[in-house]
């Protein structure tokens, strides 16, 4: 389950030590924008040591490396991959080749470490106009790609428009990314809401992202995590309905019925699939309920 992804600056010991208590489903340990060029080495070594020593219980680990056009990204991967993070987030991914370049390098390191192939997944950060237009190619470039992530700040700079709270300027990019990701069967994550103090605005923005089909949303502030989790969690009504669907299916199976309906609506495969996802999230959130199979 990945509703919220929280950015943690890679060179701040106190935050690295506490990254797993801030409520985020995933934390993104950042070696890129949060780290000045002069401290790239320092952050890389610190994050590597943190991964080695700290447990990060119940929290998925994503490392944002530096972009492929810099000299840093291979060094980043050299240090980080042996620690087996869940995912690597390459930034400024603009085409399928960017993904392949990173993936091939990771594959070599995985082999050297004796890891199974494709152990470490990729979540390309798409934040250029070119990247948005190539979203489908990026999502389908490599088996390693598990999700797409939209970066609104750099994108609006590239689009030469102003980033606003309403986000009309990134509407196209959002829907394009959702469509590309879903077409490839991978998850898709929305850009952070950047006004740290505006919690109401965060809710509005997250709800809108959810309505477009995003799987979750990233955050640059721990204060946004709770809101994001709430928005991207199934509601109690959705959970109840999902259990009803599964129960109806079970009874129908027992009775040998092929076609079933609930509340006058036919239960087809997509409804069952959705119900399964909801129950899976419920389990991840609350540790399961008694009537789970």
């Amino acid at each position: 389950m990945r509703r919220s992804m929280l950015f943690i600056p890679g060179n701040t010991p106190n935050l690295l030590m506490n990254g797993d208590v801030l409520g985020a489903d995933s934390i993104i340990l950042d070696l890129e924008d949060a780290v000045s060029p002069a401290e790239k080495d320092s952050a890389r070594i610190l994050v590597r040591n943190a991964l080695k020593s700290l447990h990060y219980k119940g929290c998925e680990i994503i490392i944002r490396i530096n972009p492929v056009e810099t000299d840093y990204w291979t060094h980043d991967l050299d240090e980080i991959i042996p620690l087996k993070p869940n995912m690597i987030m390459p930034p400024k991914v603009s085409c399928a080749q960017d993904v392949k370049t990173v993936s091939e390098y990771i594959a070599k390191l995985e082999e050297k470490c004796g890891f199974e192939k494709n152990t470490v997944k990729l979540i390309p950060l798409i934040e250029t106009a070119m990247g948005v237009e190539n979203a489908f190619q990026i999502a389908s470039a490599d088996e390693r790609v598990a999700a797409l992530f939209l970066g609104g700040e750099d994108l609006t700079a590239d689009l030469r428009c102003k980033r606003t709270k309403e986000g009309n300027e990134i509407f196209y990019a959002r829907t394009r990314l959702v469509c590309a990701a879903r077409a490839c069967g991978v998850d898709v994550y929305d850009t952070p809401f950047t006004d740290v103090d505006d919690i109401d605005g965060l809710y509005t923005d997250a709800q809108f992202a959810k309505s477009l089909g995003f799987s979750g949303k990233a955050s640059i502030s721990p204060r946004h995590v709770e809101g994001i989790n709430e928005v991207f969690s199934p509601t109690q009504a959705e959970i109840d309905y999902a259990h009803e669907v599964m129960e109806t299916i079970r009874i129908a199976k027992e009775q040998g019925k092929g076609v079933v309906s609930l509340r006058g609506k036919m239960i087809d495969a997509p409804i069952v699939e959705r119900a399964r996802q909801v129950i899976e999230m419920e389990k991840a959130m609350f540790g399961g309920t008694e009537d789970d199979e």
């Binding site: 701040t12 080495d41 320092s42 070594i45 610190l46 943190a50």
Partner: protein
């Protein structure tokens, strides 16, 4: 690896839970520790520094740290960074 300290370099900060490390060339190996938790963790701090020094094969240089309560993995990271910044491989 065999690192030689050829120039002075620093790493880390004086923020709480971090450590500031300074490495300088010196004829012998010298370690200087200042820490807000010296009474409680002097042994662990020394051990962390020595582990990195040995791993990088450093046999001379002056390493001074001003520790603001960094945990071992942070101390090791900062010492490693400072040594690598100060050194060339032998």
């Amino acid at each position: 690896m065999n690192m030689k300290i050829t120039t002075s370099a620093v790493a880390g900060t004086l923020e709480s839970s971090d450590v500031y490390v300074k490495v300088e060339p010196c004829d012998k190996l010298e370690i200087e520790i200042e820490s807000v938790v010296y009474n409680q963790f002097a042994e662990e701090i020394k051990k962390s520094i020595m582990e990195v020094v040995e791993e990088l094969g450093v046999d001379s240089g002056k390493i001074s740290i001003n520790d603001k309560g960094a945990i071992d993995c942070v101390i090791k990271a900062r010492v490693e960074t400072a040594i690598k910044r100060a050194g060339g491989e032998n």
